[in-house]
């Protein structure tokens, strides 16, 4: 029934539950993301989408259930370890290193593959390593059309560029799975269209699997292979963009709400 089941799953969530005190933010969520897919997670505000991302990236430990990445259970791993395994993410409320330059923002993310220690770094015995990180940073910034801004302070960039920089920084960790939390938030239709093409382009260029939370339906419907719909922490629908567009429950729970908002 599902074309992707033949593809090896990069990410799998099995009955993940996340409770905060009495609130169940994510309730028995099961989903899977195949290699190379672009998958969307949609749902009204407060549905538990960001919480699901936080369960994947180790910011929260799920109350129960399991998250598997390339077949490996992520339980108990901290966010930095999970990033090292190959999951990178952006944040709904952009989290750049605000007072640092564009270049340093990306350079910092390059460090997770560096073979140096605090002594060699302080005494500048890691010149080769440092030069490699800088060269890779330059290359990535050029590829993302951000090189001209390399000396700008991150917080001084316009909003759209901050989002681009945040994605570039995530790419610097060399992920195989990229999680995007509302990448088009605050963008106008033209910017959203550019972002849509951009997402497909980086998927192809860096051989990524992309799992994204998004409210802009044009973007979601255009590029997602499959869509999961969350409402009050529960998955209420799952399928291709056409399936979802015609699903009455989704229209009531979600599309109705966005029209109000």
């Amino acid at each position: 029934m599902e074309p992707s089941e033949t593809v090896a799953d990069v990410l799998e969530m099995q009955s993940v539950v996340m409770q905060f005190g009495g609130v169940t933010a994510v309730d028995e969520l099961s989903l899977h993301v195949g290699k190379g897919e672009i998958i969307a997670l949609i749902g009204p505000n407060g549905a538990g989408k960001t919480t699901a991302f936080n369960c994947i990236t180790g910011i929260y430990q799920p109350t129960s259930g399991a998250v598997l990445f390339e077949g490996r259970n992520l339980r108990g791993l901290s966010p930095d370890v999970i990033t090292r395994l190959g999951i990178a993410r952006t944040f709904q409320n952009i989290r750049l290193f605000n007072n640092l330059s564009v270049f340093d923002n990306v350079l910092i993310a390059m460090h997770l593959r560096a073979k140096d220690n605090v002594f060699s770094a302080t005494l500048r015995l890691n010149r080769k390593e440092e030069a490699r990180m800088r060269a890779e940073t330059e290359l990535l910034l050029r590829e993302q059309d951000l090189f001209g801004l390399k000396d700008e302070i991150a917080s001084s960039l316009p909003y759209g560029l901050q989002r681009r920089l945040e994605i570039a920084r995530a790419l610097a960790t060399r992920p195989s799975l990229l999680l995007l939390d509302e990448p088009a938030a605050g963008m106008n239709p033209q910017e959203t269209q550019e972002l849509t093409d951009f997402i497909v382009r980086i998927r192809d260029q860096y051989h990524l699997t992309i799992f994204m939370i998004e409210h802009h339906m044009d973007l979601v419907m255009q590029i997602s292979e499959r869509i999961y719909v969350l409402n009050f922490g529960k998955m209420i629908a799952h399928g291709t963009p056409e399936d979802i567009q015609n699903n009455p429950e989704v229209i009531e729970a979600y599309l109705g709400v966005t029209e109000d908002a």
């Binding site: 990178a88 640092l100 910092i108 770094a121 302080t122």
Partner: protein, 371 residues
């Protein structure tokens, strides 16, 4: 190519300017040193400033560059100071130092040259920091301030405790500590310590410290191990606090537990805040300003007569009132300190003067030099 040529010229200019400045400072120090009996007072102010500059930069490393709030500086300085003192007091003088309760046999003949003693003092402080850091740095950063403040007080209480009499000489303190033979020793130690910290701050590890300061969650999402990186910053900072404590012991020649009260930490915090949280240059400037300022304001403590009438406020302690007022003014009107997060650089200084020059020239020859 034009640009790189320009950068190379700038670089050479900066090296020349730096050498000139260093030469000038060394010449000044040499002059003071040559006339050390005459300039005793100035030398002691400079030496104390240099020692405070080391500990201020170390505090800035944790508080300004890593974004943790640590208040343990006095405690780490005390460890460095006592280790240095115990290891360097000449064995012949020890009976007279420990004349009340005697000296513990373990340390009776334990002696090390000053430089080794300083490094061991720094390592002891670093080891204590590592132990505190393990439980505390896993918690939210607010706990660090309380834990380090408590730690510093415990260290002070331990030093003064009767059961430590035969090691720390209890409340009598330690004296006969060999001092520095010249201002150059202090200068060299301070320059090496601060130089190493600057190299660290500008290294790939320094960038990780700053990333944590900017946003812990984002830093972690970039693969930075929060605990290990914070612990590293905290331990290195404490190492240099220990070094400066040892230097303070050598500078003062005699120490006791009161030297390392919480007020010492506050003094250093003040230096860091006045200089600018996140600026090494600021901490160094702040160390000189605060240390010298204290001394210059000393006349407020002396009785002051105006037309034969004694002005009532001028008495011991008034100096500190003035000092606190000045501090409040600085914090209120220069909330980022003197330097903010900026550093000294020849380029910015040249740009500053260059702009003035250019304005003058433009005034005279309006249509020239529009390259």
């Amino acid at each position: 190519m034009d640009q790189s040529f320009h950068a190379m010229g700038e670089r050479r200019r900066n090296i020349v300017l730096s050498l000139c400045l260093a030469g000038l400072l060394l010449a000044c120090c040499g002059y003071l040193q040559a006339n050390k009996y005459e300039y005793n007072y100035a030398i002691s102010i400079i030496e104390r400033s240099l020692i405070y500059a080391v500990v201020a930069v170390s505090m800035n490393l944790v508080n300004g560059f890593t974004g943790l709030f640590s208040l343990g500086q006095a405690g780490f300085m005390a460890i460095g100071a006592y280790v240095t003192a115990i290891l360097t007091i000449p064995t012949a003088n020890r009976p007279s130092v420990y004349y009340i309760s005697g000296i513990h046999p373990w340390i009776e003949n334990l002696h090390a040259p000053a430089l080794l003693a300083l490094i061991l003092g720094g390592l002891a402080a670093a080891a204590c920091a590592a132990l505190i850091g393990i439980p505390v740095l896993r918690l939210k950063s607010d706990y660090l301030a309380i834990a380090t403040l408590g730690f510093a007080e415990i260290i002070r209480a331990l030093i003064a405790a009767p059961m430590m009499d035969r090691i720390t000489n209890g409340s009598y303190g330690l004296k006969s500590i060999p001092g520095f033979s010249s201002i150059f020793q202090v200068l060299a130690l301070a320059a090496c310590s601060i130089g190493l910290m600057v190299l660290l701050i500008n290294s790939s590890y320094g960038r990780m410290f700053k990333a944590i300061r900017e946003d812990e969650i984002a830093a972690e999402a970039m693969g930075i191990n929060l605990f290990r990186t914070k612990e590293l910053s905290f331990v290195i900072s404490s190492f240099f606090a220990g070094i400066s404590g040892g230097m303070l012991a050598m500078f003062m020649r005699s120490i006791d537990s009161k030297t390392f009260q919480v007020s010492l930490t506050y003094d250093i915090l003040l230096i860091v805040v006045i200089g600018g949280i996140g600026s090494v240059t600021g901490s160094v400037l702040g160390a000189f300003l605060v240390t010298a300022g204290r001394e210059i304001l000393r006349f407020f403590d002396e009785p002051f007569f105006l037309g034969g009438v004694q002005v009532p406020l001028f008495r011991p302690g008034f100096r500190m009132v003035i000092f606190s007022l000045l501090l409040m003014i600085v914090v209120l009107f220069y909330s980022k300190g003197l330097m903010g997060t900026n550093e000294f650089s020849w380029n910015s200084i040249c740009r500053f003067f260059g702009r003035k020059e250019r304005k003058k020239q433009e005034g005279r020859v309006p249509h020239d030099g529009a390259k």
